[in-house]
Amino acid sequence: MRPSPLLTTRRAAVLLAAALATACSSNIPHMTPSDIPDPAPADVESVLFLIGDAGNALANKDPVMRKMQADVEYWAGALRRDSSVVVLYLGDNVYPAGVHDQTDPEFPRDSAIMQAQVDIVNGPNAVRRGVRGIFVAGNHDWGQAAGLGGAKRLQNQEDLLNRMRARGTPVWLFPKAGTPGPHVFDVGQHLRILLLDTAWWLLTGQDTSKAAVYNDMRRAFETAGDRNVIVGAHHPFRSASSHGGLMPFWSGLGIRYLLNRSGAVLQDLSSIPYKSLTQAFEAAFAGHPPLLFAGGHDHNLQVLRGLVPEDPQWMVVSGAGSKTDDLGYIDGMQFRHGAAGYMRVMIHGNGRADLFVIAAPGDKTPTCEQSDAAERERCMVTTAEQFDDVYSVRMK
């Protein structure tokens, strides 16, 4: 989407503000923002959208959904090829505890939240060009519970998506409910996507099944050839936010800080199961590091570079679909932003790969809560227009 001169000025202001903010902080090194122009559609082979933790967003009050749908519509129409655009929902698709049973009073709300995300791939261009919406499970989609209760919540989500697909919208839950993956599929000539249910790994995974996941991942990397490999999962590989232990000591009276440092919270990167997850992935990546590991889980937008050969070359946290959290800094960080938004990976016909970060103005999750429908719609339109590309980088 070609930015208007006004948006270009605003983008420059955002980049300048980000540069100043990071440069002025005593312990955060200067992060050089890059600014790659949107490629011409003729040069683009496929587009992958990344949004996570959108489980609180509703179609008629969260402008991030509106903005993303417009972006998907633009690229679906511009590419003029079928099945070249994929929207990847990076887990925690329904807060607080996944999709309840159809007889449960919570089901209508859960269903509305899923519908808001499914609508992103329901526009006319998206339907005509076969844009796929693929949901990955997060810990909240498991109802934060191991065992049968959690598996049932995830099965409910898959059943709901199956019903929506039966009505004509191409949406799936991958890996399938209760299975760890990897689910592997190729898009065009230059993109391979591996999807993993990392919540399964943390909540219910048995060692023998984990070994099988590892072997399947190795095989998928080894057979990728010249394709850019992107791994999509809910849990990020690194994070400079609360799940990564980057939080002020006094937030939560120091309790959160102590529990995180002690590795007592399963969903934090410091817990033993989470560490075993990243260690297993590092082993699987050895010799074939993926171009990008995309996760959500923390509620902000982060772009990080790999530091050692076992790391993915790039890592992103795109978990700002409906919530925002504080951010810190870790080595390898290239960009961070605390507002609602999403990311877009552009794979060029020559195999080049660009990453764009699109975010709301300010540093929060804007919502339109007006009771009057016309006013709310006006708010949705104007706020969605204020979203902008706040960062871009050539990954390859």
Partner: protein, 175 residues
Amino acid sequence: MRRIRTALLTLLAVTAGHAVSPATASAQRSIPAAMVGGVAGAASGGYIAISVIVAESRTGKYLHSYQDALGWRSAPVLIGGTGGAIIGLTDPDRLWRTMLYGGAGTLAGVGVGVLAGQLIWEGPEAKWAGGAIGAGLGMAIGSTLGVFLPLKDKDEDSGQAQEPASIPIIFTFRF
């Protein structure tokens, strides 16, 4: 007759005043102590709750989110807060001693726990986990001793008039 009645009422009022004034002073001293005890007890309970959570995580039973800490695991906060307030209200000296012993136990527990954690487990979380568990354990032991050990001055002199502390020195003069 009226003079006698007035004199009696005056005597009653003065006697009542004397009887009530020490209790009022005691109450004035006890209410802040109860508040301090409530806060300190809740904080101590919080520390103990954290150590229980961390100890559970080391056996493979994790919190799924920070909100999970608000369930039954936060019971020590309520128990500590209530217990601290009651001790502060009824026996402020015991409260100060409990806080002192609890603090000392915490410090000792952190030191021992950090060392033990690094010996038992691996990774940067080991010392934090050991320290957190040790702190809670030390806090619990210290506070328990502070509450239940007899207070020398109080218990030995109970029922007697309070006197300034003194060391009896006896001189013998032989003539």
